[in-house]
Assembly symmetry: C2
Homo-oligomer: 175 residues x 2
């Protein structure tokens, strides 16, 4: 890798955030179980496939969110991709809702790792964390997928330009 | 971080890939300029915001793709988020199209880093690579955003379940 140390950053945080609003992403809920067995979770879009062999993905989690210490202590997490229309579920995991109340909506199960898994997620990845890479305000959590659950059909809920959005019907798809 | 070494992976690569097909993502073209000044690029969806301060994102690139050595040698890359409907552009960067022919469509400019930047991208991030983290078949490229270009309006092209998809009109959005 050539490190281009002579090129200096010139993008302010707010401008970067405005740019990122233009990158549509699937809505997910990241979950874990803390040392007392209590469930924690947060809404997230910073999820990325890494490699299929071994099956690994990554999530970026702000170290200042209340669920962060529990996720890292558990060494395991769930990535639940949310179906279209479940705004209420996502919003429950975005604001100041108390921990256990967040899990009052939805058919939550416990995965192999101990993490809460949403049974009707488009896909839910049950993961163990293999590495936490510090990156300023966030941790990049490199995760190995130990189990996954998918549901047939259904479309995703997207987040774009600060709003929840839906897909149009696919070619040949009846609704 | 607690490493859960007693939990073993049990998901085959093909099952992981099937699960990942259920995670909708924005379509992007990752670009760079090789040591001879030739432009290289590939279509990708594995892009993720990391932190706003300093402004950083990451992309995961398969080490076996032909553009990989040039990207790492350049130490800089462009992340161009593709507007809805530009299937031809994306497909040109997905198959066996020769390097320079890939750039025959679209208003390509040269960014501060030297990477090709698509002038009509929804947003284009011009980046220097600050770290390459090996992860089996792929490299996780941690990138600092040194410049970005956005276009007003427009919707993204999404990839979901192996097909290109579009967003429905937003609430209050006229088309």
């Amino acid at each position: 890798l050539t490190l281009q140390t002579d090129i200096q950053p010139s993008v302010a945080p707010e401008r970067f955030r405005d740019g990122m609003r233009r990158v549509a992403a699937a809505c997910a809920i990241i979950t874990a179980r803390d040392e007392d067995g209590q469930r924690v979770g947060l809404a997230a879009t910073a999820i990325c496939s890494v490699t299929a062999d071994p099956p690994r993905l990554l999530v970026c989690v702000n170290r200042s969110v209340s669920a962060h210490p529990a996720i890292v202590a558990a060494g395991a997490l769930g990535v639940n991709i949310i179906p279209d229309g479940q705004h209420n579920l996502i919003q429950r995991f975005s604001g100041g809702t108390p921990r256990e109340e967040r899990f009052a909506i939805g058919p939550w199960r416990t995965g192999v790792s101990g993490a809460p898994i949403l049974a009707d997620a488009l896909v839910a990845f049950d993961c163990r964390i293999v590495e936490a890479i510090a990156a300023s305000t966030h941790d990049i959590l490199l995760c190995e997928v130990i189990d996954l659950v998918t549901t047939e059909g259904g479309d995703p809920m997207l987040y774009f330009d600060g709003a929840f959005r839906s897909l149009t019907a696919a070619a040949g798809q009846s609704q």
